[in-house]
């Protein structure tokens, strides 16, 4: 069979609109998910056993189940339990945020743990108050150390976001699938969709290496 990629040009506006939805959804969930993940990461290193236990259950549950199942559960089951209708956008944001929160909390936890006790000794010897120890010494180092993994987490989220097409949200994947069904040209359409995902994800994965080489190597942290 002859491949005809020119068909894509007819649908480029629809595809771009779908991409825009994917990007917006990803960005919103990165911000919400990283913030959630940061606090969950703190909770997991907390002195309170209750906080530690509750946050561990959350993280392990969301890391141990497929994102698609989480998304379906939030879209179909949560409305039944809460008695409110959730739009596919709301379900998508909740599901991806919870997923991002779970994976980034592990990143933050690991980076907090990697700061040696001698840094705290130095803080005490300099008489730094607890607040300054946290905001000026511990947090900046934890965040810097977390950056490469966080970027990888963002790439994962960007790719996983294609799942929201399964609950009917008009993201890039959803639009691509529709076009492919209506034109009976799955090879051309889905190949281009894959390429669009790749063109955005690839520079981000390269950025991870760049941050590691340039910034973290300079600071040796």
């Amino acid at each position: 069979m002859a491949l005809d990629f020119s068909i894509i040009l007819r649908f480029q506006d629809a595809l771009l609109l779908g991409l825009w939805t994917t990007v917006k959804l990803t960005l919103v969930c990165i911000v919400l998910g990283c913030s959630l993940g940061f606090f969950i990461g703190l909770a997991r290193t907390s002195r309170s056993a209750i906080l530690r236990a509750a946050s561990s259950v959350y993280v392990e549950f969301f890391r141990g189940t497929p994102v698609l199942v989480q998304l379906f559960w939030i879209f179909f089951c949560l409305p039944l339990i809460l008695g409110v209708e959730l739009s596919n956008l709301t379900s998508g944001v909740i599901a991806l945020t919870l997923y991002m929160g779970a994976i980034t909390s592990e990143t933050f936890r690991a980076s907090l743990k990697s700061i040696g006790p001698e840094q705290l000794d130095a803080c005490v010897a300099l008489g730094l108050p607890r607040r300054v120890q946290v905001t000026n010494v511990i947090l900046p180092q934890a965040v810097l150390r977390a950056v490469p993994t966080l970027l990888s987490n963002c790439v994962s989220l960007f790719k996983e976001s294609a799942l929201v097409s399964a609950v009917g949200m008009a993201d890039l994947m959803f639009v691509g699938q529709n076009i492919s069904n209506n034109t009976a040209r799955p090879i051309e359409v889905l190949t281009v969709v894959a390429l669009i995902y790749f063109v955005i994800a690839f520079p981000l994965t390269r950025a991870v290496t760049l941050v590691e080489r340039r910034v973290l190597a300079k600071l040796a942290i």
Partner: protein, 259 residues
Amino acid sequence: MTMSFSAPLVKIQSLYKSYGPHIQVLKGLDIEMKPGERVVVIGPSGGGKSTLLRVMMGLEKIDSGSISFGGKPYISSEGADRKTEIDSEVRRSIGMVFQHYTLFPHLSVIQNLILAPCKVRGEAKASATKRAQALLERFGLGAKANAYPAQLSGGQKQRVAIARALMLDPKLMLFDEVTSALDPELVAEVEQVILQLAAQDMPMMIVTHDMWFAKNIASRVIFCAGGVVVEDGPPEQVLGAPKEERTREFIDRVFHIRH
């Protein structure tokens, strides 16, 4: 701080410290240090030297005993609950430098120096920077102000760590094996800086394995082993002609290894 000649700067009284139920590190330590003294603490590993400095800095809890500075008790554990009480106001008069530099890796050299003065004492950034720059010049690090710790040699890092502690105008400096992690050719530059401070009568307590340095800087040497003070006297005595058998064995062994 004004005090009469004979009043001790530091007074450590029956200090006990253990790690867990079985490891007793300090077993009733008593030390008095006069103003202007440079005390070098030597002794075998595990003898409690580093723990002593860490306790004095308030980095470790104690089981019992007390430490005063300038006549004011600032660390004690006397009550029924055996909780270590630390007066952080008094503790601020003491500076400490560690074996492993402990610079903040995400801050430049100058930022490392001005963090505490700005955040603890509320000093203006401009004035702290000016003082920091002068201090760095004095230690031969003027060109390194904007470098990050990872870009410095071990000796440079340790000199920055000393400068950082001095930014708070300490009345006593504690040096915990500050040259032990350095390559041999870098040891001298750090020791020079400490000798410079000694020439300005900075009171200091130094834990070191470097006997040459101990001999050169000490106004008094304490030999610590098994968590107690075994011998305490002028360097000529403790290092040259020790009275105690255990001190003599240790000194013989150390010098035998070195020469």
